[in-house]
Subunit: 235 residues, 2 copies
């Protein structure tokens, strides 16, 4: 693994706690509007629409559509179910951009800062560029490049998403290591020639559900968090 | 101009001193190989091929070709003229990647660091992603996003280069300000709706030739360097 030049990162779940952040924003909105709601269920319901909506793009039923717009389609379909049918356009847009304001897990900024000394750090996320740039700006994520689905015009786990990202970085796939908390993402990256690092995020789906089962897979590195990853990679 | 969210930067000439850096690398190579050469003439000859080669892509005579490859076509055509006909493949590739190792003007890192507190900073360069990422890593350029020709698949001054960059940032063109030392770049950006900032780089073509004449144009901001730009933009 001495030839690895870049680490490419899954973001939702691996870098940021999307569920906890959605719950936090739901609670803030509810307080402001004087309504009640189960914001954990809201977060899970919204996220449950993520894969089916991307699958419509992957399968060609929808033309290329960036994730902000897929999130909005999903959000519009659940608003009334959660007592949010009266929000105006600005409020819905602000809520939709919760995904631009997700909080990183506590080890992330310190781990990335160490890893950045030795490697090119790039996102390889299904999030669109603006979402990832705004998130990084707010949370202090020190990416060298914001890449992924939108510039590759392919949603993971389609192989084009990985291959084109390596191409943008001017690297062979084996010079890139995919970092993710999800076995499916690492498997697809591996099939494209990437090296793989699994980082456990047992709380991604909340305290009552297990994290991704991918930790049992055969990856090049397995780490408990980004600081551990930095240590294992000699940073 | 209170609604400006992002500054988009021309890179070659505006951020980095391509000519001085090419001369420096030519001199290093000459010393190592024990040859003589006029490296200022070499730098100018190589750069003179830049626009004609991009024009072949813009005009459709060449399919999409990233700048590293256009630089290599240009370099191959002048090697023997400068006594470099005996270089091996690794040496030619290293020389071609001089463009990944260009030095910034002395005000750049401090100016960008101040501007980054208030604005999204993105490249909008004809350089390819790997070139710009490697340059930023080496020189400490704190970009929030590395965008431009390669991800837009259009070379400036084609309007798609500007419009698609604003689109990736999730912004309207008027929320973006193009920063460049070249009037032609600012004119094209302005025609796409961007705000404009001219930064004078009188030494871009060396001490004996004038800088770009664009300083006489009607731009939103005119600055003597990036520190002055930061001050004028309230950073």
């Amino acid at each position: 693994m001495t030839d690895i030049q870049a680490l490419t990162f899954d973001v939702f779940g691996t870098v940021v706690d999307w569920r906890g952040s959605l719950i936090r924003e739901g609670e803030k909105l509810a307080k402001r509007k004087g309504i009640e709601g189960d914001w954990a269920t809201f977060a899970d319901a919204w996220r449950d629409l993520y894969q089916p909506l991307m699958e419509r793009v992957r399968g060609g039923q929808l033309p290329w559509t960036k994730l902000d717009e897929l999130h909005r389609i999903g959000l519009d379909s659940i608003l009334s179910r959660f007592g949010l049918g009266d929000l105006d356009e600005d409020e819905i847009d602000h809520l939709n951009r919760t995904w631009h304001r997700l909080d990183p897990w506590p080890d992330v900024v310190q781990g990335l800062t160490r890893l950045k000394r030795k490697y090119v750090l790039a996102t390889l996320s299904n999030g669109n560029v603006a979402l990832l740039v705004n998130m990084a700006k707010r949370a202090g994520l020190p990416w060298d490049a914001v890449l992924g689905a939108e510039v590759a015009r392919a949603y993971k786990p389609q192989p084009e998403a990985y291959a084109r990202t390596a191409g943008f970085l001017g690297l062979k796939p084996e010079q890139c290591m995919m970092v993710a908390a999800h076995g499916g993402d690492l498997k697809a990256a591996s099939e494209c020639g990437f090296r793989t690092a699994f980082v456990a995020r047992p709380l991604e789906h909340g305290p009552n559900k297990p994290g991704d089962a991918g930790g049992s897979g055969d990856w090049n590195v397995k780490a408990v968090d980004f600081k551990d990853l930095a240590t294992q990679l000699g940073c």
